[in-house]
Symmetry: D2
Subunit: 321 residues, 4 copies
């Protein structure tokens, strides 16, 4: 039986590759793509998702639902410095034939999950505004979803917007806090792991380019700016793929090599730390020892501690063949 999937995405760069993994996998039934504000302008995110469906040869088969155009409490940000103005390394693709649905992403999420209780896996690879609104409107989706994969936050490590915060959580910390505390069966794939197991090396990227299929050409073209940024800024000889790695793990659980049930929460109040993700750790003293004012807490999420990079790269490579 196919795996039912819904992907919430601010489609730009790596978001597109995550979509490819799902769109090109015959064992996956991608019920919906829902769009959240994020990497580039909202309308561009919608277009990028539509074009990606087409590039994957699936035009008209997977509906794309526009959702929240704005974070809850702050101005939207823009990651054009990583992904280019159009989020696709300025490939400036033409509009896809498929057009967006009129139904709102929030309702698409609720209806898809509630129509198939216990069956739908959600991948959240954007700021969590859509998911937060969905679970606020219909709290039952937390129990009804099969599993929620979140790409976001760090594992108590350096972020990618501020020292303290990763993009998806930084852009809408309130939404992130709502979702991680909403009671989903959930897994967190952090920026921290992405910088290790989410890297596709230059050699591997060359191999993908050498495939020279339509989809591999799409991949290589769209990956251009992000690769340049990773090389310049992170001094990594390759590009970083948080969303695609998250999708890969969601599609094939065997890629999760190490994981831990943790207490995850999101800072919404700090002045230096808005969007910081706190992840509990076994090396910390017991709460009661550390500070009697700290309440002990129950793990609310599985945090991925190590993934199978080689397996991920293989899956990505196969998807663009």
């Amino acid at each position: 039986m196919a795996m039912r999937l819904l992907i919430d995405t601010d489609t730009a760069g790596d978001d597109a590759f995550s979509l490819l993994l799902a769109l090109r996998n015959p064992k996956v039934q991608l019920d919906a793509i829902t769009i959240c504000h994020g990497n580039v302008t909202f309308d561009q995110c919608v277009e990028n998702a539509l074009y990606t469906v087409e590039a994957a040869g699936r035009s008209g088969e997977v509906p794309v639902y526009p959702g929240a155009r704005l974070p809850m409490m702050r101005k939207p940000l823009d990651a054009a410095y990583v992904f280019g103005k159009d989020g696709m390394s300025d490939a400036n693709y033409p509009p896809a034939k498929q057009r967006p649905e009129t139904r709102h992403a929030v309702d698409a999420i609720i209806d898809t999950v509630m129509a198939h209780p216990g069956e739908v896996t959600i991948i959240a690879q954007a700021p969590l505004t859509n998911l937060a609104l969905a679970v606020m409107k219909e709290p039952a989706i937390a129990q009804a979803a099969k599993h929620l994969w979140i790409m976001g936050g760090t594992d108590n490590a350096v972020g990618n917007v501020t020292s303290a915060a990763e993009f998806n959580f930084y852009v809408d910390p309130e939404a992130a806090k709502i979702v991680v505390n909403a009671g989903f069966k959930a897994s967190l794939l952090t920026w921290t792991r992405s910088m290790v197991e989410g890297v596709i090396t230059s050699a591997e990227l060359d191999a993908i380019a050498a495939l020279d299929t339509p989809v591999s050409r799409f991949f290589t073209r769209v990956n251009r700016d992000s690769l340049a940024f990773s090389r310049d800024r992170q001094r990594i000889d390759g590009s970083i793929h948080p969303d695609a790695l998250t999708c890969a793990c969601a599609l094939d659980e065997s890629l999760v090599l190490e994981a831990e049930d943790c207490v995850v929460d999101v800072e919404t109040a700090g002045t230096l730390t808005r969007g910081y993700s706190s992840v509990s750790s076994a090396i910390l003293p017991d709460a009661a020892d550390a500070d009697p004012d700290l309440a002990p807490q129950v793990p609310n999420m599985r945090v991925i501690k190590r993934a199978d990079r080689d397996g991920f790269v293989r899956m990505m490579t196969d998807a663009v063949r």
Copy 2:
């Protein structure tokens, strides 16, 4: 010419070893030991410092000044779960002959620094309350001190009280924030480095014990509880020495293998992140790209990125011979 030094300490466990490094080094003139609340009860911290001076064979030679008994804004904490009730692995040493000075630590800091402008190195290895009060009372010490070494915070990594915060910064975040922004020429040795280059392995500890000198016996006895905690909790085969590593680097600059001038600041407002230390990073996008609302900032501190563990262990071993 001897190096003028002042150590501010909440003496327990590793604090004592840091004092040993300074007390047993003939090239160091330790002008003052000032006591801050912290690891165990304030009066016990004072006694532990006095006893350590005696154990180092320096009784009566280095004055010990009691300082702030309380953090600025919160109840004091207690790290007896690491260091034993008396902070010395429950060795229950008798009172030392030397008694504490009547002058307040804050004035001892100000007077020592201002009496020798440009000459006094300060090592701050406790919550930063004394230093904050000193620089608030006499802002000129920031320029007049030769260098300030701070053991505290993390390098955007897991803490040792909460996921977000290290003990010294957690106990008095306001004091930490005041001090890191006061304009000292300063170096930060974080908990993050301590867990790597501050580790003395079990084998090395055995070698120290085998010296069987009075000072090595003191070291081994006092280190007992901390070693047990590191093994049980951090799964490290050895004990962790943040304060001694900081002192070692202060005494011998060649132990600093890698360092970076960074923007360091301390979170005082968060609900999950009180005491979090934000450290700027070269892998982050420029502030203006990341978020137009973020102001670019000027580095205020050198952050130690790699220290010479072997060199540190040699220095520590020599100090207890």
Copy 3:
């Protein structure tokens, strides 16, 4: 032409009287009652609204839409200490004949407003969760609504949950912050004014009781606990009617005797001040004088500074005849 109205309410006590004002006014077309969590358990709020429609003799004529059962970020509170366990002074009314709609309150708000652009007045007399979700899902309602009346916050004065915060804003500060900054043409009726012009005196309540109509009996019965609380706690010889006063002003603009366009915002980050409403004031220095770090801001809302208490009491009395 009738005035199109939608009331969002956590129906208990005074919420019911506000509904009466609208339900009993022939010039008002009450398109929808939407229910938000708040004063008592969510399901009880729904029942209270349905019963009130029936008590007003309008059973089956005005749909009641259940909405958000929970605040965005915190546990729901309970004001049973003011309104009794059932929110109706423990009158324990039987279930009404009319049953709640299946459509969600958030969609009812969006659809009602968007179906009649520029025509629908909204009264928000509960925590602002439903409104926040609605404007997050469909930002266009902010421009399309004719006017939004908010009962909530204080005019820089003492609250009714904490010193700093009024109930509706305290229960969901994030929602309040979203709504006041969403761009609605809006008026704020604060708890501060409610304690003055929202008071119906004991003598006036006696006159209402003496009418001895079915609706006046309903009013008197439901008002019992709230009246007792006002007398005991606020030392007011009468009962306080924030929601009804808000509705009265919305229905008859001439009841607004004084008002001022202000910058209104809501504190979400404080430890003592969560839910505090900041209202700009002409007696303050210019922002640039007061603190160069403060940005000058543009008024986003009309704040009612004085209402016509006598006129309100007359309207309320007429409504229960």
Copy 4:
């Protein structure tokens, strides 16, 4: 027996009049004037205090101790828009003969209080930095002081810097929080009361001017800018005297007509509310009813609820005869 007094002041405008009340009162032994940063530049505050001592005919009799030049956590502010550039309505007085002491204000506070346990009344009419440093350095002063009068904060009402905060608390909220929670026997005179009972009307000011004594001329000259600001901004026909009213109440307890023991605390974490003073109120529900997460608290301070304005004006008028 004379009343022992110490005044901590950022001398400008009304600060000077408070000093006059103490300096011109034969029953008061003013042991020390300590200077805190605040209204105008620090050095100008010192000069203004020295000049005021001279203007009161007491040159050389009351020592003036300079203290903290900076708030704990933020840049100093400036209230020149109220008091003129020199804080004295640009009277540009020449330097006084008496010069400042070399001893630090913090030590002057500690030593004065500890030398006469149970005898010294402190009036704090500036940001609370000096007092906070003093009680941090020597916690025993909280018990040893006879009484601490604080001019600062509001009684849950509009501030005078932001809507939420009064100047003294806004400039150094951390210091204010430290002091109100330090265990002093204390009274709070708020900006809220100052705008009522701290007003000297134009007619009364004219009567003061008509006295035409050296001290009344000093008063009238120094009051010029503040009077203009009150008229323009607060639409008050008179000038506002928070510091002088506080001193008057401290000197003559019979001027306190109404007061209440309250829980007072200061917000240091909010984004709109830094420096907000929370004052408990009898009209609020019990903490356990209002929100089970709120802990009930014990009153820590007497809050003045009504003072004798006429008595204050008489005292002020007599002081400048």
